[in-house]
Amino acid sequence: MHGIGVFVCHCGSNIAATVDVKKVVEMAKLEPGVVHAEDYQYMCSEAGQEKIAQAIKEKNLSGIVVCSCSPRMHEATFRKCAEKAGLNPYMVEIANLREQCSWIHKDIEEGTEKAVILTRAAIAKVNLNTSLEAGESGVIKRALVIGGGIAGIQTALDIADAGYEVDIVEKTPSIGGKMAQLDKTFPTLDCSACILTPKMVDAAAHEKINLYTYSEVEKVSGFVGDFTVEIRKKARYVNMDKCTGCGVCMEKCPSKKAKSEFNSGLSNRPAIYTPFAQAIPNVPVIDPTQCIKLKTGKCGVCEKFCQAGAIDYKQKDEVITQKYGAIVVATGFEVIKLDNYDEYAYSQSKDVITSLELERIMNAAGPTKGHLERLSDGKPPKNIVFIQCVGSRCAENKGKSYCSKICCMYTAKHAMLIRDKYPDVNVTVFYIDVRTPGKNFDEFYRRAVEEYGVNYVKGQVGKVAPQADGSLLVHGVDLIDGKQLKISADMVVLAAAIEPNPTVRNIATMLTASIDTNNFLTEAHPKLRPVESPTAGVFLSGVCQGPKDIPETVSQAGAAAIKVVGLLAKDKLMTNPCTAKADELLCNGCSACANVCPYGAISYEDKLINDHGIRKTHRVAVVNSALCQGCGACTVACPSGVMDLQGFSNRQIIAEVDAICR
């Protein structure tokens, strides 16, 4: 029995406003194979789905077309609905009447005409649909977290607490990330280290968590439930099992000229170092670009002083291969380079600093031991100017187009802390907008203004001019007063934009996870699936997905963890049945398809084929449907067209083409 049902959704007025849905229904009824057509206010609602289910049962439909929003939105919903009603879920096609019709057209006649054609194409396709059965594949009960900042740590802890093994891969020598560099956190002003280090210790001590610090992901293959990952453990030149973390080596190291990454380059560190005192693991690494022994063969001081005998100059990088069921990206951010903002004299004056640098200056473990000092002459500043939105909210050729989101709040924090500790210091903040949506955020900002007397000026700074006397003349504007301002400051702090860690591009490519034009990882759905990548089995945690502060990062980290746990808790995964399939009766066995398959899913077998009564052995292509991801590259490479893609077959697509061009 063959009969197609067509269900046209109004989507409230989203579709119905520019598409005459009744007309679409009438026209659909005229199409071959259609035995039922109706419209409804909200097809995705329970009542709408009930209508579909009822029609499937009553009219014994063999396939349905739902004319609604994008299939990326509700295809899964309607497939489930069909399945419940006893129809194979792959006998469902969606005509996208909302995103690709009603929302972009204004004229109702034009919209309706296009809607009819789109519906017709979907009907033509569904006529050729075949029932597909999803296969099954196993799940490896282990997760990988890439990045060991607060996002990665929190995700790993939550997954581990649920009872699954987790590996954290962190490219620097210690976990902790950017949060470890912060002094205080808004809006509560807790000490960042005091709340982060216990979590770092928990992660290190957790029996289910395994840390690969000073390591990088090198290669990823496989698919959801069964990823194979190669991790490069860079040579530390220190034996992790032997090292006791006494720190003598760092003290004795004669090469102390390297810039401390942890202190944002504001202080020096030895060639053998841990990034900071509370580093985890508390095992130093030797920086081969700085170590005299590794560069010249002479020195060996650290080896001499190490009582544990942990120094090993001959250590080599090690590549380990591990299997995972799920991968979480938590690669975080960096502050942008300020090369394009020389009007703020960042490169010309030591007293023009970024907020992250100020963070280190304010920190007791920082380069100035927590004293607020000018880096040029060590004098305490009297007038500090903060400049907001440096490199954020720019035109594309000028900087980052997005709002970095955290700057307004940390600037309020900095201003407040400075005014609290040094009441005689004048603090001026040039702002374009103060953005404080968050619990207790605006109150926090208001306190900076009302209780701490921070001078907020609506306007921007055009130039910072370093003067001969060492002061900085800030040329700004007060848009409210309508005045140009020239403020003599002795320190200027730039709220530089943040950008995704540059390594994320490479990682995204390895994971085949998509990234947007700003290098932020794309979520599977911006509202409904914010912690999942569109690539199955890959999840997002922290700033790699978009700018966010610590509380938001931690919530997202937990959300990513629960998604991972939900995946790892399954014993079997249903695989996408829209895979390639060769017609073995006609396959030439020419190998063109295997050459283009990115998954190695195609192999060849010699098969005895009965071709019109003549039995012959032929070399034919066989697709491993567990490996095939359904891209279709092979289908075009095949010269005779015997390789086809289920769900997107040649005939189905040609039927759509014909329906559109009719």
Binding site: N588, S591, N595, K616, A637, S640, R651, A655
Partner: protein, 321 residues
């Protein structure tokens, strides 16, 4: 020539090959045809001269399924096709004993006729042992002499060289025939206006009678079922009035063999309507050479075909000439 026949006899009699795949005499001196020779006796019909243009490599697809080894005579250009067929697993190397034979250029009856010769009954001077300078043509209107060179197939003027890409043994001398650039004609068309290009191809393709000779002879068109005979695209050959396949047939065919076509020229040789079909294939070859680096199908079995390969910085479609 006698040497070749002796060698073939020897191979057959010793049992090292089961059969010979070569050419046998036709009704006239100028139309020999491919044939199997199963015994030394049958070799009396064997011929190899300037009219044996047919590329025998495609026959090896069937011969690979026959019992025992087949001795196959391959001219230099035919070996490219044979290699390509090995690469695509269409022939079995071990089932072939390849005698690479020399070539002094292959002749085209059309080219002879084009020199104003009519009513041909016999042609002498095409023997492979001869010097292949002149052809003596007997016609209903008397004997005429034409130059061998002017009577060659187009493909021989742009010969890929007289070196065999694959063989078990070599026999007979070759002579160089290359005297033209193979992309000249393509370039001429490329430089026409869009309108003129269309007019040109419309005129040429309107001669097509869809006899499928080009497809059937093509060594790259070896699919067990051609897309034009298959139901998989709703593209099977329909009534002759349906315009689709005339307009698209040759483009699709050329695309299907792109990166695999060795430019053996058989399609143009066999076209009863004289359509220069090689111009399609050569356009793809020229584009591939220009855009992705020089590639000759069948030269090296290990090389990846340009259409199943890519580089990260390939040019964009919009950047094409």
């Amino acid at each position: 020539m006698q040497e070749l026949i002796s060698r073939l006899k020897e191979l057959l009699e010793s049992g090292s090959v089961q059969r010979v795949l070569g050419w046998k005499k036709g009704d006239f001196t100028f139309n020999p045809e491919p044939a199997y020779f199963n015994s030394a006796e049958e070799l009396s019909e064997f011929v190899y001269d300037g009219f044996c243009g047919a590329n025998l490599s495609k026959y090896m697809i069937k011969a690979s399924n026959l019992e025992g080894v087949t001795a196959v005579l391959l001219k230099p250009c035919d070996t490219y096709s044979f290699n390509q067929l090995i690469k695509e697993h269409r022939v079995i190397r071990e089932k072939a004993y390849i005698i690479g034979i020399g070539c002094k250029g292959k002749l085209s009856l059309d080219a002879i006729k084009a020199q104003g010769v009519k009513g041909i009954t016999d042609i002498k001077g095409a023997e492979i042992d001869g010097d292949c300078n002149e052809l003596k043509v007997e016609t209903l209107y008397g004997e005429k002499t034409v130059s061998y060179k002017d009577s060659m197939l187009e493909r021989c003027h742009v010969c890929k060289g007289k070196e065999h890409m694959i063989y078990d043994e070599l026999m007979l001398e070759s002579a160089d025939t290359l005297d033209a650039d193979r992309f000249t004609d393509v370039e001429i068309i490329e430089n026409l206006t869009s309108e003129d290009k269309f007019t040109y191809f419309q005129r040429e393709l309107s001669k097509c009678i869809r006899c499928n000779a080009c497809r059937n002879v093509c060594p790259a068109c070896s699919c067990r079922k051609c897309v034009f005979d298959s139901t998989k695209f709703d593209s099977e050959q329909k009534a002759n009035v349906d315009p689709f396949h005339e307009s698209m047939f040759h483009i699709i065919r050329a695309f299907h063999v792109a990166g695999r076509c060795t430019d053996c020229g058989e399609c143009s040789r066999v076209c009863p309507q004289g359509i220069p079909l090689h111009l399609f294939n050569r356009k793809f070859i020229k584009d591939i050479n220009e855009y992705y680096g020089v590639f000759q199908a069948g030269e090296d079995i290990g090389q990846t075909s340009p259409l199943t390969d890519y580089t990260l910085d390939d040019m964009e479609a919009e950047e094409r000439r």
